[in-house]
Symmetry: C2
Amino acid sequence: MLENLKIGILGGGQLGAMLMRHAIDFGLRVSIMDKDPHAPCSHYTSSFFCGDPASFEAVLEFGKDLDVITIEKEAVNIKALRQLEKQGVKVFPSPDTIEVIQDKFIQKQFLLSHNIPVAPGEAVQGKNDLYQYENKLPVCLKKRRDGYDGYGVMVLKTKEDIEAAFDAPCVVEELVDIKHEIAVIVARNEDGAVVCYDPVMMAFSEDKFILDYQIAPAQIDEGILKEATTLAEKVADALQLVGILAVEMFVTKDNRLLVNEMAPRPHNSGHHTIEASTTSQYEQLLRAILGLPLGATGLHFPSLMLNVLDNDALNADRPGKLKRLLDVPGAHLHWYGKEGRRAGRKIGHVTVTDNTIENVIAKAELIRKILN
Amino acid sequence: MLENLKIGILGGGQLGAMLMRHAIDFGLRVSIMDKDPHAPCSHYTSSFFCGDPASFEAVLEFGKDLDVITIEKEAVNIKALRQLEKQGVKVFPSPDTIEVIQDKFIQKQFLLSHNIPVAPGEAVQGKNDLYQYENKLPVCLKKRRDGYDGYGVMVLKTKEDIEAAFDAPCVVEELVDIKHEIAVIVARNEDGAVVCYDPVMMAFSEDKFILDYQIAPAQIDEGILKEATTLAEKVADALQLVGILAVEMFVTKDNRLLVNEMAPRPHNSGHHTIEASTTSQYEQLLRAILGLPLGATGLHFPSLMLNVLDNDALNADRPGKLKRLLDVPGAHLHWYGKEGRRAGRKIGHVTVTDNTIENVIAKAELIRKILN
């Protein structure tokens, strides 16, 4: 059965590669499209297509003989996906879901219309519109489309920052007084069955808005955590999601939950599920889109996930540092094998597991010293 | 670093596919050769070569630009591997190690020469030599070369069985009075560092000598288990192994350990390490052959691994049965995606994990009912 399904993934980065890892577990045949001919996934399938997932023609050509298409990035051509659906290809998450999430302002409006609390924000067309906020600084400025890994997000503190701001359609958000940032991964299948992973706590690098590390389970009040999973399930239902969805939330200083952003695909905040959960987020996505029962989401043990960024300290001795890292028991290296160098880029991650959260944190500190 | 290494695997079956799964974790570039153009691995690399790993020319051509070659089956061309070594390609396990293990009689002689206890056996050239055992029946007959998954093993009970026996160079073994069959996976790197996994207990199907299920940790006397790991480490040292080695042993009714067979590659008895151990046997193999530190081998929880064979009961409703199986929490399906049908062939496995061995066994019984 499973080997007869032709699956397609739009996007061939590390998320796609980790999805391939789990596609192997199910004996699946997977085609992958990415515009970079050297993308990580280009090595891991006999069916790699070099093409832009944002191109109508490329997506239509890629998908025409597939049974099911999924995504590992949001910047995909919705029109082509709708056309493919008409031709009988299953597209999960649905083009409607992806379209809502592609635009951060529409995403926010959608959540508000379903009574889901969000960080307040307004749409602007470009830089000229920003001067009206001069007396309301600081604010957070986010490009409406195509942001990822902190690209497309900046904080405006001064009039000079406005001069240097993105000149593109953006959302301007007031800076929320945040106590914690958490994320919940939720999965939903065609039958409407929903399962949630335990919320994780995230810490971002101060300057780059790129996820620095993540701890699971989140070490915060149980009541808030329960509320967070209820909220994530509500969002999945509202979107009529088929697939998986990462819901990033703020916990404000007065203990309110606000949905910050969503991603309808495997997410950095769920990498730990590979080692720490009964069912990884990647297997869960495959289950959800292939009409298989959703898997158990329980955490086996505490974990901490640390992103590895391309930087001078690491590059001074990559082989030596990676060897020392691999000598830490319970340090699980995921090295993305990206070609070339670009400072600040995610090039891997390490998931640390152990029996207690204290041990996990101690090991993570050791690993951070090794890598830096 | 890791992404610049060109790795090759001889053999492209399910063991190779599971090795690919872990090669993705390290961002490796992997070429794979198998004589079957539709082998499971053919889908999971951009660098698949259709060729016979037993062919001198094919292996030489396959390996000429690689940095490191390893195997997922023993039936490979030793002469070509020796030639590649001279050309600077690292071959792990070494051609010497593979050559010793390729021939079950030489393997036995090797073990005896290192004072490692084995089931007593004698070499015969063909069927005509078997009549001398007519008065010593029953005996176990094993082809010296190219046996796998029970192919190449038979028990001779009567003179009629001799008539129907293999007419090939074989080993004739006396039938040992066995209490248990266990296996130990041991890893060793170029520096001579050695790590062992906990022994597992195996149960074979009565008629086919194919592994039916496997329990980890083995539920037998601690002293014997300790002795078994010591023995496995001794074998790894004797072979000057670089890579991983599965050592299958008999525990006799009088509590002696006898080495039955060895395999210098990932092995069916170690599949459970994917979910149940800190480091899977596949990652461990990659660590051993790439000069990386060996990984921790601890078991997180009890597990039972059940082979899934191609049979009529399963084929009556593969989709329905697989769905019911995937609905059992902690049942980890590995479906090999093999093409075509052949009764009795291994087409997948399920690793069941839970907190107690009793729960694991209960779940495994449920799964067996589902599959049959």
